[in-house]
Amino acid sequence: MRAAVLLFLPVVAFAGDPAKGKEIVLGRGDGNCLLCHAIPGADRTAGNLGPSLSGVGSRFSPGQLRSRLIDASRFNPKSAMPPYGRVEGLHAVAPQYRGKPLLTDQEIEDAVAFMLTLK
């Protein structure tokens, strides 16, 4: 529900901070995008389960990036990308993580703002 509402919000509703987004995307916290994606500006070894995020800011709109972060399996049912903003319909989640998304709405906006700089 929360995710569904978020999908239709205009990008200005939560202004994303690209500097904070950079930490989320390149850091080792709950974003940790480098585990699977090569990303310009990385200072450690990147994984290659997913595509490189180089130029991702030119290929996708803010809305497209946001909805893929919230739940990539919506676009590719076989996707190995975790849902960063969806909490419903998950199976056998450990008690301490139940009902909590990997990233908050604000963190997702920050990550989107950083990704838009990757032209």
């Binding site: 480098l34 585990l35 699977c36 450690r44 070894t45 990147a46 994984g47 290659n48 389960l49 399996s73 076989k78 190995a80 975790p82 849902p83 969806r86 998950l90 199976h91 056998a92 989640v93 450990a94 008690p95 993580y97 909590k100 990997l102």
Partner: protein, 229 residues
């Protein structure tokens, strides 16, 4: 032109064969780890094997002599129940899961089958539940075993290479643990990473998954004591 087509088809066929082939975690390990495992003098897992030999002499030798080939036939379905090697060893004395005693005895018994192919007598029907569990997305990460160990093995997760998640090295000495550990502990470590519920040691959910993994690994040689990162 024709020759080029032939080479292309041959390459594609080879790629398909390689895709379908079972590969031990050893093939994805670093040079250093492979060297450690290859030398009994350096392999830290041999300490547990030696300890297991002593325990076996004390506790098991009155009934059992050679255990060669036994580990290759487990897990098995006995009287309608799934029995792992650990479970079988606990038939007389219920050593705690992950206790030094159980790890030592299991390592000692499995080591006697080192190099022998896993040939558990398991039917496709036996592994139905484990098969379902293997493809079930779970945890906050919403990933199934198959997402990493079937769809993406050989690719890199950060600096690590994803393996097929084969069970043939276990119990194995993991550098991360700095000790020997069971396949069940390793499975729980994956579940922990997914932020998923951890199946209890010896639980039905765990046993079903282990049975499926053995069925999937059929033919891979036992490596106990394997060394893993």
């Amino acid at each position: 032109m024709k020759r080029r087509t032939f080479i292309f088809v041959l390459a594609a066929l080879l790629a398909c064969t390689a895709q379908a082939q079972n590969r031990s975690g050893l093939e994805f390990a670093s040079e250093e780890i492979r060297r450690l495992q290859a030398s009994d003098a350096e392999n830290p897992g041999m300490l547990w094997v030696d300890q297991g030999a002593k325990l076996f002499a004390q506790k098991c030798a009155s009934c059992h002599v050679s255990m060669k080939g036994v580990a290759a036939r487990y897990p098995a379905v006995e009287n309608g129940r799934i029995v792992t090697l650990e479970g079988k060893i606990r038939h007389k004395e219920a050593f705690a899961y992950e206790s030094d005693e159980l790890l030592a005895l299991t390592s000692y018994v499995a080591h006697q089958s080192r190099g022998m192919p896993i040939q558990a007598k398991i039917s496709e029907k036996d592994v139905q539940k484990g098969n379902t569990a293997y493809y079930q997305r779970r945890g906050q990460m919403n990933l199934a075993c198959a997402h990493c160990h079937e769809q993406n093995w050989g690719k890199h997760l950060g600096a690590e290479t994803l393996s097929q998640g084969q069970p043939n090295g276990y119990p194995a000495y993991r550098l991360e643990w700095q000790k020997m550990g069971s396949l069940e502990r390793r499975i729980r470590a994956c579940m922990f990473g997914l932020h998923a519920e951890l199946p209890a040691y010896g639980s039905d959910a765990m046993l079903e998954l282990e049975l499926f993994l053995a069925w999937r690994a059929s033919g891979l040689p036992i490596e106990t004591p394997a060394v893993r990162r």
